[in-house]
Amino acid sequence: MEIDPFIFRLSIFILSIFIGYFVVWSVTPSLHTPLMSVTNAISSVIIVGAIIASFSSLEGSGISFSNILGFVAVTLAAINIFGGFLVTQRMLQMYKKKEKKKNK
């Protein structure tokens, strides 16, 4: 009997949960806020779905309801992607080690 491709996706899903579990436990608590903003940014990879929706019309059929939903979803995901990664970057820039010699 052939294995349903769903089973493969389920396997990827379950194994990824475990990877997430171990990777996230190794995140230092002081970086928990950047962790939240970066997970936020990467979950916007849902934009791949929004892209399919944006281009889901048949040749010559004009802009459909699904397309409009797609464009809105692209906008929302883009806010998240740019906002999420940039704000994470901004936060991470601020984490500095103790300077060897204080100039003050």
Binding site: F6, R9, I12, F13, S16, I17, F18, G20, V23, V24, S26, V27, T28, P29, S30, L31, H32, T33, P34, L35, M36, S37, V38, T39, N40, I42, V45, I46, I47, V48, G49, I51, A53, S54, F55, S56, S57, E59, S64, S66, F71, V72, A73, V74, T75, A78, N80, I81, F82, G83, G84, F85, L86, Q89, M91, L92, M94, K97, K98, E99
Partner: protein, 466 residues
């Protein structure tokens, strides 16, 4: 682009995202991690565009949509003050939730473009996945909106409870599960939209009874939900990148919720059922408060105490964030260091309104991260410390958590500031903290209360340190 090639590239996206999270294990590697994350995202977007049939009109609209979103996101990222991080993250979560709903609705109306079958004749597995995705997405959306409003102060941060609340939620929960089940036999638009509306409603209802200081758990939980919603859509679209990312984000949020609950010694269920701290502020307690004397100090006393100490531990809490006192605090610490006082910072896991909130604020004020310690790493040092400067924190220092089994915060891990030779509390008033519990530390002989706005008091102390 062939389906196999795009699948492999999506897998690489997933791997890059794993590396992005891995980078956060230390501040040095974190910036590289963020770069991996950005690369993964660019790859995912490029691959998806190359995998669809491009129509010119749609492409124009797509580029406009992407640019508008990008510009808004960019402006927000640069303008947002660090104290507003919790509401920003909550707001971003709501966008992920809404995007998931929109993608699912779009897939429901044009399943052929997504390769899922035809309208109202979608493959059984796909309609279940779609139902789950749209439902979790909708819950994430409204739940995050409420969390955002509470954090932004657009809505009272206190719990909103009404009789029969839990029954109503349970009923809606059952309704949602049955509607998803019913979609298998009947894919009518009515059922699909009913599912969305019920999910939107329950997202709203589960967050309103949760109070302000429980927000770290709520934000983490919504973070987790946004991941599961993405994974649900990932299954529908049979997209590896989305499935991996959804699983990563889902487990990340779940772990953060767990850490936050543990930081309060409360079960997840207890937090979610809400209403914490509403019934403990009985009048008898308030009377007792007024009778006991407290030692009231001013900035000069505090400056004198700290200048002559050999070691000081700073304990920041949400009050520091509200008063935006982190820069003044750093200035004070610089002055103290010049007087050869050893200064470190102690952070309780649930200090502030989101995981790691205090750390970001201190980092913003240029406090080196190796002077900032987590509870377990610093708690033994309090006994050898001269002064604890508690700024805007209360419940997390309350020794009653160790001594009184009847207290609502009993068993919560606390910072042992009581063991310091003297304790300075910067607070606006005698009012109890979020848990509604009186802090007996206020009445001790070695405690000095500094009643003022955290920022003003700290600035005044700085003046007296000269």
């Amino acid at each position: 682009m062939s389906a196999n090639l795009s699948s492999i590239l999506f897998l690489i996206t997933g791997v890059l995202f794993i590396l992005a999270l891995r980078g956060l294990s230390s501040p040095e590697t974190s910036r590289m991690g963020n770069f991996f994350g950005i690369t993964g995202m660019v790859l995912a977007i490029v691959v998806s565009i190359l995998s669809v049939d491009i129509f010119f009109n749609n492409l124009i609209y797509f580029i406009v949509a992407l640019s508008i979103g990008g510009i808004i996101g960019g402006i927000i990222a640069f303008k947002i003050p660090m104290t507003a991080m919790p509401q920003l993250v909550a707001g971003f979560h709501s966008l992920v939730g809404l995007a998931a709903v929109l993608v699912a609705v779009s897939a429901y109306y044009s399943p052929d473009s997504f390769g899922l079958g035809t309208f109202q004749d979608i493959k059984t597995a796909s309609i279940i996945e779609m139902g789950l995705g749209v439902s979790i997405g909708a819950i994430t959306f409204t739940g995050s909106i409420i969390a955002f409003m509470k954090l932004q102060g657009l809505m009272s941060g206190s719990p909103i409870a009404f009789p029969g609340q839990h029954y109503l939620n349970a009923l809606l929960g059952i309704l949602i599960v049955s509607l998803i089940g019913y979609l298998i036999v009947n894919q009518s638009t009515q059922i699909f939209w009913m599912l969305i509306i019920a999910s939107l409603l329950i997202g709203f209802l589960i967050i309103i009874p949760i109070g302000g200081a429980d927000m770290p758990v709520v934000i983490s939980m919504l973070n987790s939900y946004s991941g599961w919603a993405a994974a649900g859509i990932g299954f529908t679209l049979e997209n590896t990148a989305l499935i991996i990312t959804g699983a990563l984000v889902g487990s990340s949020g779940a772990i953060l919720s767990y850490i936050m609950c543990k930081g309060m010694n409360r079960s997840f269920l207890n937090v979610i059922l809400g209403g914490f701290g509403t019934d403990s502020s009985s009048s008898s307690k308030n009377e007792k408060t007024e009778k006991k004397p407290v030692k009231n100090g001013n900035a000069e006393d505090a400056a004198f105490l700290m200048k002559n100490a050999s070691s000081v531990i700073i304990v920041p809490g949400y009050g520091m964030a509200v008063a935006q006192a982190q820069h003044a605090l750093r200035e004070m610490v610089d002055k103290l260091k010049k007087n050869d006082v050893k200064v470190s910072y102690a952070i309780h896991p649930v200090a502030g309104r989101m995981p790691g909130h205090m750390n970001v604020l201190l980092a913003e004020a240029n406090v080196p991260y190796d002077e900032v310690f987590e509870l377990d790493d610093i708690n033994n040092d309090f006994a050898n410390t001269d002064v604890a400067y508690v700024i805007g924190a209360n419940d997390v220092t309350n020794p009653v958590a160790k001594t009184d089994p009847k207290s609502p915060i009993f068993g919560m891990p606390i910072l042992d500031v009581e063991k310091c030779k003297s304790v300075l509390f910067v607070k606006r008033s005698m009012s109890p903290g979020y848990a509604g519990v009186d802090n007996e530390l206020f009445y001790r002989d070695n405690t000095l209360m500094l009643f003022a706005d955290a920022k003003k008091m700290t600035e005044n102390i700085v003046k007296y340190l000269d």
